[in-house]
Every structure is written in structure tokens, then in C-alpha cells.
């Protein structure tokens, strides 16, 4: 008779515990339902060689990632969250960090207008018309930002638009740590 009372209560409490822990982790930002862990962390950046978005530009290839810590941002002019994070990319560029862009399935004309109107934070931009390079990077949401160290290894991945808190809490500390 006593078991009939204790067992359901214990089951309920342990379930509350498990779900509570999960909710708490989401609340504190340790775990996100939308952000998948990247399998590319601590692996070399995929090999690619993308054409430029404007005639006479230099395009963007894996080789350019060697030698200094850089950010790789996957963006498109049609992507609204990309506009949201754009000022923060501009700020990072002004602070002297090197940012490269992969322009995902975009009309080069629109991409150029975007950069002309809002400013160009990128050292170089490569056009990914087929979307295959983005798949190589494991991209599934736009925008996405990767931090690549001076040896060409991916060290961090951010899915979705960057915010001011992302910049001060994660991006800038990681960049500074890698540069030292």
C-alpha cells in the first residue's frame, strides 16, 4: 500500500527534475533547441575556391584563411537577419578583425547594392551560387559565422544573427584568445 503512494511520487519528481534541468539549461543559454553542435569544430576549414561577386574582384578561397585569425560569415542580400547583424560585422571590421564573406545563392547585383548601401565589412567575398560550399561548411541557417584560427582550423560556430551580447560575450573574447 505504501509503495503505491511512493512510486508515482518518485516518478513524478524525477521527471520534474529532468525537465526542469533541461529548461534551466535553455534559460541560461547553455543549451539551445535551435543550435546544433557543429561537427567541424577543431577541424580544418573545407577546401573551396569561390568566384567574386563583382567583376575584377578577387573571390574567396581556403588559402586566404591561412596566416591570421578570421571570421567567415555566410550571408545573402535577401536574408533579413543578415541585415540585423550587419552593423556588428562593421564594428568588428573597424576593430581590425579580418572578415570574409560567403555570399549564399544571391544575385551579384543585389549583393553589391547591399554592400554599397550598408557598408562592406569583408576583406573578400566569394559567390556560392550552387550552395555546395555552404553545405561543405555544414551551414543550415542564415546567417552563420565561423571563427577560423591562423592555421585554418575552425574554432567556433555561431548560427543566426550576431547580437551585441554575442560580440562582447563570445566572439571578441575568442578572437582575442586565438590571436595571442
Amino acid at each position: 500500500m505504501r509503495n503505491a503512494v511512493i512510486i508515482p511520487i518518485c516518478t513524478l519528481l524525477s521527471l520534474v527534475g529532468i525537465f526542469g534541468l533541461y529548461l534551466w539549461q535553455i534559460g541560461t543559454g547553455q543549451k539551445s533547441l535551435n543550435h546544433l553542435p557543429s561537427t567541424l569544430i577543431n577541424k580544418p576549414a573545407p577546401r573551396f575556391n569561390l568566384p567574386p561577386i563583382n567583376r575584377g574582384g578577387k573571390g574567396f578561397s581556403t588559402k586566404m584563411l591561412r596566416g591570421n585569425v578570421s571570421l567567415v560569415n555566410i550571408w545573402a542580400s535577401w536574408c533579413i537577419p543578415c541585415r540585423v547583424e550587419h552593423p556588428y560585422l562593421m564594428k568588428l571590421a573597424q576593430d581590425g578583425f579580418s572578415i570574409y564573406g560567403i555570399n549564399y545563392k544571391d544575385d551579384p547585383k543585389n549583393a553589391n547594392t547591399f554592400l554599397k548601401v550598408l557598408g562592406n565589412p569583408y576583406r573578400a567575398v566569394g559567390a556560392d551560387h550552387s550552395g555546395l560550399t555552404s553545405i561543405d561548411w555544414g551551414v543550415y541557417g542564415y546567417p552563420e559565422t565561423f571563427i577560423v584560427d591562423s592555421n585554418g582550423y575552425i574554432r567556433y560556430r555561431h548560427v543566426g544573427p550576431l547580437s551585441e551580447t554575442d560580440l562582447s560575450n563570445t566572439i571578441q573574447p575568442i578572437l582575442k584568445r586565438l590571436e595571442n
Partner: protein
């Protein structure tokens, strides 16, 4: 009103089933196409996460379907293609999770719960059997019983 209802039901029943795979994606070789369909049914679309890339209309799903077909055409094996996609997107991209360290509880959970239940049932049955064993009356109780009988 009734007619309208019948009409709508008929329309719904007649509507063609929506398929994400578009005609121009289909490979000429039916054998390769069959493999492509089988592969894409097991791959998760990461944009709409509970659909396979075979079912999804998302842009990324379409790109992945085409990628799977390109790789099939160039002679890659099914395992090589799955390995490539997993290397980019992780185990999460597989709709059927593989058995490894992090999915051990997921796969073994039902077995563990079943064994636990079995132990509980055995334990219960043993207790029941134990309870059935009659304890013989003591001399004192026997005497009391005869005295009660004699009173009647």
C-alpha cells in the same frame, strides 16, 4: 449545404499528393534514382527538422537531394554519401540515430526498462508464493479451536 460538403470532401480526396522531389531532379537511371530516394528518406532536413530531405520543400533539402544524386552519379557508395553528410552536419542529420556512446541510453532504454519490469514482476510473484505457504497452527491454537467447536 450537404452537396457543398460532398464537393469539398471529393476535392480533398482527389487532390494530388504533394511530393517534394521535382521532376528535373530525377535521375535517368532508375536504379540510381531508387538508391537516391532510399538515401534521402533517411536524411533529416535541417531547416524543417522533422522532415526528411525527400519530403521537404526547403531550399537546403533540394540542394542536398541534388548533392546525393551527383555523388551517386560519380560512383560513390551509399555509405560514402552518408559519411560525407554526417561529417558536415553530425549524427543529427540521420533520421535513424546510430548506436554509439551518446545514443546508448536512447537505444538501450527500453531494454533496461523491460529488464527492470521483469525483475519487479518476479519479485512480486516470489512474494505471492511465499504468502501462500500456510503456517501450521500451534498447539495452543489447536486447543482453542477444539474448544470453540465443542461449545457449539
Amino acid at each position: 449545404m450537404n452537396r457543398l460538403f460532398i464537393l469539398f470532401t471529393a476535392l480533398i480526396l482527389c487532390s494530388p499528393t504533394i511530393k517534394a522531389v521535382e521532376p528535373e531532379e530525377v535521375l535517368r537511371d532508375p536504379k540510381l534514382e531508387e538508391r537516391a530516394r532510399a538515401l534521402s528518406k533517411g536524411l533529416r532536413c535541417l531547416v524543417c527538422q522533422n522532415q526528411s530531405i525527400d519530403d521537404s520543400d526547403a531550399n537546403l533539402a533540394r540542394d542536398l537531394r541534388i548533392l546525393v544524386r551527383e555523388k551517386l552519379k560519380s560512383g560513390d557508395s551509399d555509405e560514402e554519401i552518408i559519411k560525407y553528410v554526417v561529417s558536415r552536419y553530425g549524427d543529427f542529420v540521420l533520421l535513424k540515430p546510430p548506436l554509439n556512446k551518446s545514443t546508448f541510453i536512447l537505444w538501450m532504454g527500453p531494454v533496461i526498462i523491460f529488464i527492470f519490469g521483469l525483475i519487479m514482476v518476479l519479485f512480486y510473484m516470489m512474494r505471492m508464493r511465499h504468502a501462500k505457504k500456510a503456517i501450521p497452527l500451534t498447539e495452543e491454537e489447536k486447543n482453542r479451536l477444539t474448544s470453540i467447536r465443542e461449545l457449539r
